[in-house]
């Protein structure tokens, strides 16, 4: 693992995709401080990940208030937004991220129901 670097703007540490055990799911959750939406989003996303993707995911949570520069990377428009960087094509999930079913579908862990 690279050494943690604190506060370097515009850079997000890329988790290693090569190596003995690369995480399959790379997720970035963009939140707005400790608003209830944000707190819920963080809690729920982590819960799902621990439940269904244990040991196979890397989650980074970016508070767009404290680290605004990092928000440009994935071109989000509103927060909270969950971005799935891997596996597969980039997928942005906007809206109520506390919805388990919606999250699972958005992460591709359930067949998609609706949009």
């Amino acid at each position: 693992m690279k050494e943690p670097r604190i506060g370097s703007p515009g850079e997000l540490a890329e988790p290693q995709l090569s190596g003995p055990d690369p995480p399959k799911y790379i997720l970035r959750l963009y939140v707005t401080g400790k608003t209830p939406n944000s707190l819920r989003a963080v809690a729920k996303v982590r819960e799902i990940c621990e439940e269904h993707l244990l040991g196979r995911y890397h989650l980074q949570v970016i508070d767009i208030y404290q680290q605004p520069a990092l928000a440009e990377g994935d071109h989000i428009m509103v927060a909270p937004t969950l971005v799935r960087r891997a596996p597969g094509p980039l997928r942005r999930l906007i809206g109520n991220l506390a919805d388990r079913e919606r999250l699972l579908a958005g992460l591709g862990l359930r067949p998609a129901i609706g949009g």
Partner: protein, 683 residues
Amino acid sequence: MTNETAWDAEVEDLRARLLEAEETLQAIRRGEVDALVVEGARGEQVFTLKGADHSYRIFLEEMHEGAATLTADGVILYGNRRFAEIVGTPLEEVIGGSIYRFVREAGRPELEDVLRAGREGAGKGELTFLSGEENVPVYLAASALPLEEVEALCLVVTDLTEQKRNQQLVDSEKLARSIFENATEAIVVCDLEEIVLRASLSARRLCSCNPVGERFSKAFPLRKEDQQEPLDLPFSAVFQGEVIQGIEAALPGEGDQVCQLQVSAGPLLSPDDRILGCVLTLTDVTARRDAELEADRALQEAEAANQAKDHFLATLSHELRTPLTPVLAVISGMQGDPRLPVDVRAHLAMVRRNVELEARLIDDMLDLTRIARGKLELHREVADLRQVLEDSLQTVTGDLTHKRLRLVMDLDGGDHRLWGDTPRLTQVFWNLFSNAVKFTPEDGVMTVRTRRDGADLVVEVTDTGIGIEADALTTIFDAFQQGEQGITRRFGGLGLGLAITKAIVELHGGSLTANSPGRGQGAVFSVRLPAGNLPAAPLARPEERTSAETALSPDRGNGGGLRELRILLIEDHADTAEAMAELLRVLGHEVTVASSVAAGLAAAERHAGRLDLVLSDLGLPDGSGVDLMQELHERYGVRGIALSGYGMEEDVRRSLEAGFDRHLTKPINLQALEAAIQETARG
């Protein structure tokens, strides 16, 4: 037709809505929207991008403490930058993770306790967080956060590292300041311009003004030790990093006071080893220096006193003996004068005996002081103990006969030679014999026995006299002791003899012991002398060095064939000169008298070449007889006999070295003088 219009309308509607949405989104993106209206659980909620909660948010984000929102089981839902900093991890990796990542396994229970307490209301505690591999001391405050749906904890984390460091710093700062202020040494801190930055209490006392802010040399005008020149301290060397120690300096104070100081200085370093200035220490050594001076002075005084004492003793001896010389000389002369009636001559004999006794007492006293001061020296040679015993016996023969005492001599057949001081040994046995004779009543017996015991010679002197009480046996050798008081009154004397005798025996490496069966049963004195340490040298003739052997028979042996000599007598004591000259003339010599070195030289010159002998006193008013003799010997080749009242070993050695053939001490014994003259002239 209606389907198409309805379809178009719907598409139009959709397109509008889409456009509106896009525009909304775009507007939001461009930051032109201040708030969003969001459908919340309790109806519409306004979600502001900037505004009312801005100040709270900023507060949280910018505050010095770390803040985090946690779930009940420690998942971090929110954290501020400071929190991420404290745990040494990027913020995006912190949020969403577990807080238990940041404590060691051993610290888990503590953290759990704090969080549990927080859930119940409020929890706090001091813990150690992990920042990478390093330990960070932190203070945690946890409290329950009422939020819909999520049971959350609010956690405030205070990094104690700096506080602890600061505390240490503060403590050490206090300590340093205390040390600095209260040091007995005067400590001064200067900058690179030699300006005083700080001065300890002691340093400020040394200074007549407030030294802070002044140039060091102005605040402390040091001078060199001798107080003459100003002293320049090597500041430049110190600013290069050198340490200087022990520079002696004087600092003038109030009035005439001067402080003696020892100055040391070293560079003052910053934490990153840059030289900021210097630290000087001024140690007051005035007291020590004064004590040293005092000690020197006391030593000098003691030495002077010592020398004065020695000088006094020598002078005392000389002065006490000087008058005895003419007295003895005259009496000797008178004793031999046939014109005097016999009973008068007998009286003269008595007078002479007592004067000689007086002389001996003076000698005893002088010897005793010499012994006490460890200044009695032996002049060792190969001595014949048998001869010594016979000579000593000679001196008591008269008394033996007078008291009708029987003498038994039982001398070992063997070698009686030993390495010793003949005159002193004679003194020893003369003392023992005369004691034996003195303390034995008429018709008694005195026995003298010698024997070999290993490497030693043992002499036992036994008498049948009054004996010695058991408890007096050890004290009789002490000075001024004579056994019982009654003895002093009956037998007279100062009681110095045995003390001196013992000291001389012991100086030879031997021992002297006394034994007695008791009162009235006689006594045995036993002298043991080492006799095994002889060098291969012939027997020496006993030289006359002290007046100890003065008690020879009063008869003037005037054997035939004695030469008549031209004698130059140099003596400044008028009576002595007169008496001696008279005596010598009676003996048939031609005598010229001079009373000073100058007169002596002059007289010698007048009689140049026709002088046979010089008789000179050593202590002359205008110089030393020693120098005179040297001069006369060099110029005229004449021999001499030295006369002196000192009898000190030093004088004897010097006189013999100077060219005197012999040295006699006053009071001069006529017989000895005569013998000496004949030998010198003959030789």
